[in-house]
Symmetry: C2
Subunit: 317 residues, 2 copies
């Protein structure tokens, strides 16, 4: 069941030996929220620690500076930013005993005993910030840094449509509470592994445009991925760039898998419904982002998508 | 002389037939501030128009939608975001008769009869927003869009260190007043000309690293610039990326000029003082961004810089 802030206050007040869980592929929001909550509980004299659903990228190390890495049998288990127990990864053992979940995903499965769910929040960090502020709890600099990190990373540094007035206002408050916003954003947004730039260079060297420049196609081979030692993040970065080309309303990225066949990712602007296009090949997703499998002949599959797009956009392939 | 908000209020109230001036190479801040001020004056039943110090990139067209493009002999001249009359470009004819300047550059020359100068503001748009709010003036959706545009573009979408708490709070207010922040940010930050991606691809294909990966070197030839039809913006974009490579503390970009010789641009992180490095070749600039001329042999000049950097960073070239 979902609960109000005052009930969250009771749970936090009564919590003892608290294990805070984040999700697989931990990101700035679950880590920032987890770290801030841990610091709050420690400041109340409680034992608390954060355990993560997967390995934590090094760039987030600052969130955990000075936090004790204790192992203990928890009496209270709290999940942050975890919409479903399938996202607990290595922590699935706790799936049945989550006492409280603080989350902002509308898709939250309400698997926890009690859930503070705020689907309009840009980040779980915003939900936790509201809780702490409403309860009159102090927020020190490390907590402000952690909450700002969650808010900034989940909004693409306040760029995406989920960055509403409350998100901006919370950021203002957190900066006044000591969050080092500029340094955090350099770390989160202005530093990329070299593999990312090299893969980008390779991919754009083979850029193809169709439909009067409205459709872009990037093709990434296993050879490129191996040569550049590129990871999943680099691929996500490229996929996002595919629709940032001026005039492009549909960015298609084809990525070769280890077995040699291709997967296709679409990122679109109005009026292209990415999910409808991918459905042609049995795939799916959202309006602005979707994917499908390219089957045995990726260029044939691409032709199928391009014909459909040309018809929809009223242009020749 | 500098003046207070209440005096700005008097000037705006008494203004008639107002010409609003922006600077050469108009950016989101001068254009957004100019457009918002123009809309305010029109709403007060005055005649007003914005004239720009140079050609306005197409992506800013939305700021001026529905604004009359009148020509008239001005009775009041107001400059926005213009620190010095040398930045008026084609509008230098008005240099001696600027009645009011609204600006946030600490370097403002106080050339106007009266100047509302706020050097702590992230953008002139923030200064104007404070004026309008303090005076109790209504802000409609097009004004909110324009002011948000100024604030967002001058802070790199709230990423830079100038984005302080007041900037975030003003953005929150403007979103509540109707600013379409997500759409504006897509237009400003998520759309780049294809030439930019292609030049990036070319440049990174030849990326060189020195000093254990602490120094990156990108070399851009005239051939690349011509083939990709790349403009100055594309070069700025590359220069910025040169120091975003993980581990790099000094990004060096060498750009061939039309006469064949090279100019060098440096972007650095702590502890490299870009200005001190460029001084070796007679150049200069700021701590984090500086430039110099590479002289007749650019590779020799590069060696000079690399030797100095290797010594400073304690590594082999």
């Amino acid at each position: 069941m979902t609960v109000s802030i005052s009930r969250v206050g009771e749970i936090l007040r009564d919590a003892e030996d608290v294990l805070i869980l984040t999700h697989i592929h931990p990101d700035g929001d679950c880590l920032g929220t987890g770290a801030a909550l841990c610091r709050h509980l420690l400041s109340q004299g409680k034992r608390a620690t954060v355990v993560n659903g997967g390995p934590v990228p090094k760039k987030y190390d600052y969130l955990f500076e000075g936090l004790p890495q204790e192992t203990f049998e928890p009496k209270t288990v709290i999940a942050v930013d975890v919409a479903d127990t399938t996202l607990l990864g290595d922590l699935a053992v706790y799936a049945d005993r989550v006492d409280l979940c603080i989350d902002h995903h509308v898709s939250n499965k309400l698997y926890a005993r009690e859930t503070y769910l705020c689907p309009d929040d840009a980040a779980a960090a915003l939900s936790l910030y509201r809780v702490l502020r409403t309860l009159g709890m102090p927020i020190d600099k490390p907590m402000a840094d952690a909450l700002y990190t969650g808010l900034s990373t989940d909004t693409g540094c306040f760029r995406y449509s989920n960055a509403n007035a409350e998100a901006y206002r919370a950021a203002a408050d957190l900066i006044e509470l000591g969050a080092d916003n500029a340094a955090i954003n350099v770390k989160m947004f202005e530093t990329k592994p070299i593999s990312q730039f090299l893969l980008l260079s390779d991919a754009f060297a083979g850029l193809r445009l169709f439909c009067d420049g409205k459709v872009s196609v990037l093709k990434i081979t296993q050879e490129m991925l191996e040569e550049r030692q590129a990871d999943e993040d680099s691929f996500d970065f490229l996929t996002a760039l595919s629709r940032q080309i001026e005039g492009v309303v549909c960015g298609i990225t084809m990525k070769q898998q280890e077995d040699g066949h291709y997967k296709i990712s679409l990122r679109t602007h109005e009026p292209v419904d990415a999910s409808a296009v991918c459905a042609l090949l049995g795939g799916g997703g959202h309006k602005r982002a979707a994917g499908c499998d390219a089957g045995p002949d990726e260029e044939e599959s691409l032709k199928t998508l391009l014909s459909f797009l040309a018809e929809q956009l009223g242009c020749a392939v």
